[in-house]
């Protein structure tokens, strides 16, 4: 069934009949895999298929239960805890792995600091950190603390950290999940530069077009089984999707049902000023899906967080169903029927040390009280519903959420937000790390919600998502509204033009007037 046709002689790193179980749960079954110098080899598969587990094994982070790894044709036992970096195997984890207290430069050189006479060469590290970041077109201060960066900037730091190492094999687990088109493009440039130098790259992504664009070969995993390893030229996104999900995937996006022309404005934002937001105005109508596009750091998250009361407003006005509101706590906005789903699932979304149930109901515990006490049975029912609705795959409900696959964490977070049954939902990167099959489901859920009369804001760096889902699109740039697109205007090039500041819009003034 497997067709690993790579010639082992030329492979740098290869895996033979790798199996892995966590406790009594098998996750990988006898998987073969290899990567050659100068090649990009992509791994795709549904959430929980075992992609992250496989590459953790390939980088020594996890030990295989059985099977072997060879490096340069030599069978090796990889050292644990990232020590395989010394062998040239560098991994970018799916979940961001940065120490929040450290600075950007500290993080990039962590574990292999530059020294002169035994002391840290701080200046040189800062210089090189800035240089690597510049090759990625990211201009953050090397002395900025990680805790002050946006999620996307953190991801770029991770990438900078990885490409600045002397990698022979560079493994990237969904590096583009929170990146927008521009950043992704820069990343790809760097990857091509590395492969030209003979670096082998293993690349995981749920964005099939990226795979088509970048990879020479693709390995498909399903439920821990190796389905196939094939050359990209023989594939189309549809055929990959079919291999992954095991069924035909037509119509990723449901048809758009336009909201009534006279649908009332449920959320109105006028001249909002807050941390990261300079001045923005927009309306959201009942039954509408409003897309938010923009480059990373353009302030989309900041707008959402200000609206729901996570940040203090420095100016402007927000109306809900025409009535002015000023939320100072999230609880108030949730009570008013407005829910926000963060994109930072690890830092702000989920309690990684707790099980599925407490995570799902954390936002809505009030609903599960019986005579003032928590009704576990009711929570369990809620979990069962959410598992069915969002196809959450977990070994059992008691497993710590931190051990779920990335996509399943994301689905759980979706479930958590939807538990509050909001009328207005702001979703920040709703399909971050979610496989195409489930993505389709989620898009249908979103469309169905809109059809029911709910209103949805989708903040997304995935252009296709915004284009495929939204009735109207707000493009942000540097904390301001750069453009407002509607109907046929919603195209990739148009969005890019506004996002990059090539085109300015009068919409802002128009709305303000």
């Amino acid at each position: 069934m497997s067709s690993a046709e790579g010639t082992p002689a030329s492979a740098i790193l290869s895996a033979h009949r790798i199996s892995k179980s966590f406790g009594d749960i098998p996750v990988l079954f006898s998987v073969d895999f290899d990567v050659k110098p100068g090649e990009v080899h992509a791994i795709i598969g549904e959430n929980g298929a075992g992609k992250s587990t496989l590459i953790k094994i390939l980088s020594g982070i996890e030990e295989p239960t059985s099977g072997s790894i060879s490096l340069d044709g030599q069978t090796v036992v990889l050292p644990p805890n990232g020590a395989a970096e010394a062998l040239g195997i560098v991994l970018i984890h799916q979940e961001q792995n940065l120490a929040e207290h450290l600075t950007v430069a500290d993080s990039i050189f962590l574990g292999r600091e530059l020294k002169i006479f035994g002391f840290l060469d701080v200046r040189e590290m800062r210089k090189r950190a800035r240089a690597v970041m510049e090759t990625l077109h990211v201009y953050v201060d090397p002395d900025a603390r990680i805790s002050t960066l946006s999620v996307a900037d953190k991801q770029m730091v991770e990438i900078a950290k990885a490409i600045s190492r002397d990698a022979r094999v560079l493994i990237m687990d969904e590096p583009t999940a929170v990146l927008s088109v521009g950043e992704t493009e820069t990343l790809f440039e760097q990857i091509r530069r590395l492969t030209d130098r003979g670096v082998a790259v293993i690349f995981i992504s749920h964005k099939l077009d990226e795979i088509m664009q970048l990879a020479a070969r693709v390995t498909v995993l399903r439920d821990g089984q190796l389905i196939a390893t094939v050359g990209t030229e023989a594939l189309t996104p549809d055929s990959i999707a079919q291999m992954m999900v095991g069924r035909e995937l037509s119509n990723l996006f449901p048809p758009k049902i336009e909201p009534d022309v006279d649908a009332p404005v449920v959320l109105g934002v006028r001249n909002l000023v807050a941390k990261g937001v300079k001045d923005i105005s927009f309306d959201l109508r009942r039954g509408e899906i409003l897309g938010f596009a923009g480059l990373i750091g353009s302030g989309r998250t900041a707008v959402a967080e200000a609206v729901v009361g996570l940040h203090h407003l420095n100016g402007g006005e927000i109306t809900l169903d025409g009535k002015p509101v000023n939320f100072t706590r999230v609880a108030q906005s949730v009570d008013a029927g407005l829910a926000y789903m963060t994109k930072d699932r690890k830092g702000k979304g989920l309690l990684l040390n707790m099980g599925l149930r407490p995570n799902l109901t954390l936002l809505t515990l009030q609903k599960h009280l019986k005579a003032g006490f928590l009704d576990t049975a009711s929570e369990t029912r809620a979990l069962e519903r959410a598992v069915r609705r969002f196809d959450i795959r977990a070994r059992d409900a008691s497993v710590a959420v931190g051990r779920l696959s990335g996509g399943n964490q994301q689905k759980l977070m979706l479930g958590k937000t939807m538990e509050s049954e909001p009328d207005i939902i702001i979703m920040d990167e709703p399909t971050r790390g979610i496989d195409v099959g489930t993505k389709q489901q989620i898009y249908h859920i979103i469309a169905a919600l809109a059809a029911e009369g709910k209103s949805i804001i989708v903040i997304s760096s995935e252009m296709q998502e915004v284009i495929g889902l939204a009735h109207r699109v707000v493009v942000m740039r540097e904390g301001r509204l750069a453009g407002m697109l509607e109907g046929a205007e919603i195209t990739e090039s148009e969005i890019m033009r506004y996002a990059a500041g090539i085109k300015q819009s009068e919409h802002n003034e128009r709305i303000n007037a």
């Binding site: 406790g23 706590r329 999230v330 926000y340 830092g347 309690l351 040390n353 515990l365």
Partner: protein, 330 residues
């Protein structure tokens, strides 16, 4: 194959973590039995439990504070100042109210109020003032301790003898042969366990201790929940003092010294995480009883030089926790 191999290990680990403190407790009881035949006597056991009740009740409060990522170093001094004020209030009310339960109840009320106020003060400094809990409660620890020394003029505040006679039964008597302190301890423990497991407040404490940001984004009013844990702690300190005062009828600058350390130790031995995010009240109860038994066992034997009591205590504490870690490495 992997399944068959993995299963027992997992079951083993979970059992161990949960049962760890219980195993340590059982071993201590066995040791006690071998050392002295009176160890299991009704009198000895009620003695140990009754005198563990102060620390126990305080430690249950500390379980909430620690679970939500906080710390309260001031509980010992707070206990002293509450005891002192209670005694002063009762002595002062005698002329107007006469000897009797009225005075005692008034004193109790004053104690509980003061505990709530002291806890509120700690909580507000921490949540509104945004100062580290360690610093705030280190500060109030000094402040409360000074206060009681000042009130007692460096000596001892003694409860009027006749009122003390009225109040005494609260420590020494009981229901159906179970001393009141044990009953109160048990009630607080059961209540605490229910609040921790079965209320939104308990869930919120764990959430905040686990990740404050996530809690905030999940519409939890982080500051209020935090504040509440400190108020609860203060109130429970007061409850402990209500049982403490009738025992000896006095308070001085030495009352409650190092209780904070003992309470925190009980909490941690019981399996609650010092950095927050996970807490269990029943574990705390076991932890506190373990600490109480260590002292009791030391007094029941003559083998260990009393100079080495502290060493024995230290070794047992480490061992008790080691048992919980038993299979971590495997």
């Amino acid at each position: 194959m992997p399944d068959a191999m993995a299963k027992p290990a997992r079951a083993f680990r979970i059992d161990f973590k949960t049962a760890g403190p219980l195993v340590a407790l059982a071993l201590l009881v066995l040791l006690g039995i071998t050392l002295n035949e009176n160890f299991l006597s009704y009198n000895n056991l009620t003695n140990v439990l009754a005198r563990s009740s102060f620390i126990g009740i305080i430690a249950i409060g500390a379980t909430f504070v620690i679970t939500s990522g906080g710390l309260d170093l001031s509980v010992g001094s707070m206990a002293a100042v509450i005891a002192g004020v209670m005694i002063m209030v009762m002595n002062w009310l005698i002329p107007s109210m006469g000897i009797g339960w009225g005075v005692v109840l008034a004193g109790m009320l004053a104690g509980v109020l003061l505990g709530g106020v002291a806890g509120t003060f700690n909580g507000l400094m921490i949540t509104r003032g945004r100062i580290e809990a360690f610093i705030v409660t280190l500060g109030t620890m000094g402040i409360f301790r000074s206060l009681v020394t000042f009130l007692a003029n460096g000596g001892t505040l003694s409860l009027n003898f006749e009122v003390a006679d009225v109040y005494r039964p609260v420590y020494y008597d009981g229901l159906l042969g179970v001393p009141y302190p044990i009953i109160v301890f048990a009630l607080v423990a059961i209540g605490g366990e229910i609040v921790m497991r079965r209320t939104a407040f308990g869930r919120h404490c764990a959430a905040i201790g686990s990740n404050e940001q996530v809690a905030r984004y999940s519409s939890i009013n982080v500051d209020n929940v935090r504040l509440l844990t400190y108020i609860l702690q203060g109130t429970l300190v007061a409850v402990a003092v209500l049982l403490y005062v009738p025992r000896l009828g006095s308070a001085s600058s030495t009352t409650g010294v190092l209780w904070e350390l003992e309470a925190i130790a009980g909490v941690i031995i019981g399996g609650t995480t010092l950095k927050g995010g996970y807490g269990r009240v029943w574990g705390t109860v076991v932890g506190v009883v373990i600490l109480g038994l260590i002292g009791n066992i030391l007094n029941l034997q003559s083998l260990i030089s009393p100079y080495l009591n502290g060493a024995f205590q230290g070794v047992i504490i480490i061992l008790a926790v080691l048992l919980q870690r038993g299979s971590r490495n495997s």
